[in-house]
Amino acid sequence: MSPTDTTAVTHEVHIDAEPETVFAFFTDPDKMIQWKGRQAELDPRPGGVYRVDVTGEHVARGEYVELDPPHRVVFTWGWEGGDAVPPGSSTVEITLTEQGGGTLVRLEHRDLPESERGPHGQGWDHYLERLVVAAAGGDAGPDPWDEEGPERS
């Protein structure tokens, strides 16, 4: 991550659950699809695959880089078949901190291709690609158990 990287997307949320409980939602495929994606293939060890089918058409793919249960998980991230953000080209870091009997979750998605952002660079395709996925996610609504959401077997 370069010092001038202003592209990192960061978010924090407090969850009334133990860090152990929350951590599993980043490593267990059945739990992963309860909040993101329709299908997930996860091999939670350094170098192991992180593959989440987000919309049926868009698949996020990367590799686990670091796991320190239940405090930290880092994985690379990109779109399968995407030129602008190829698999593994950006990094997502999740930090879990015990807070008031619950967990503070901090998500940082960094190394996004900010330097080439804008109408003259590949940033354009990057944004379009991502937005399509975001739009599809938005259409699915807030309910992860919606029939249009995760596939149930």
């Binding site: 997307v9 969850i15 939602f25 909040w35 993101k36 979750v105 109408p119 354009w124 937005l131």
Partner: protein, 105 residues
């Protein structure tokens, strides 16, 4: 931002944006790149313009179109929201899971 998301959900509209990201083109020039009717292209241009992704400029009798870089900043904000929404779903799912565990104890 939902308008922007809907606007680019259509593949042809994404193609139009790519076409005019570096240069201004008239509606006719844009239409010549696609195998669709001129009114259909006009409709796409309207949707993109209303979503803030496309700038329209009059040059005599012609209307010229170019992608709006400012629209990208809006898109970025939307992507930010994408992750925020994900974490909200995570919160619901994890808290439900925790309450199940607590009941078993």
């Amino acid at each position: 931002m939902e308008a922007a998301a809907r606007a680019i959900a259509e593949p042809r509209r994404r193609a139009i944006l790519r076409l005019v990201r570096d240069r201004e083109l008239s509606a006719g020039e844009i239409a010549s790149h696609f195998d669709v009717t001129r009114p259909a292209v006009s409709q796409h241009l309207t949707v993109l313009r209303e979503a803030g992704l496309l700038a329209e400029r009059r040059d005599g009798t012609r209307r010229l179109y170019q992608a709006r870089p400012e629209g990208l900043e809006d898109l970025r904000a939307f992507l930010d929201e994408f992750w925020a929404a994900g974490l909200e779903r995570l919160k619901l799912a994890a808290e439900l899971d925790q309450s199940r565990k607590d009941r078993k104890r």
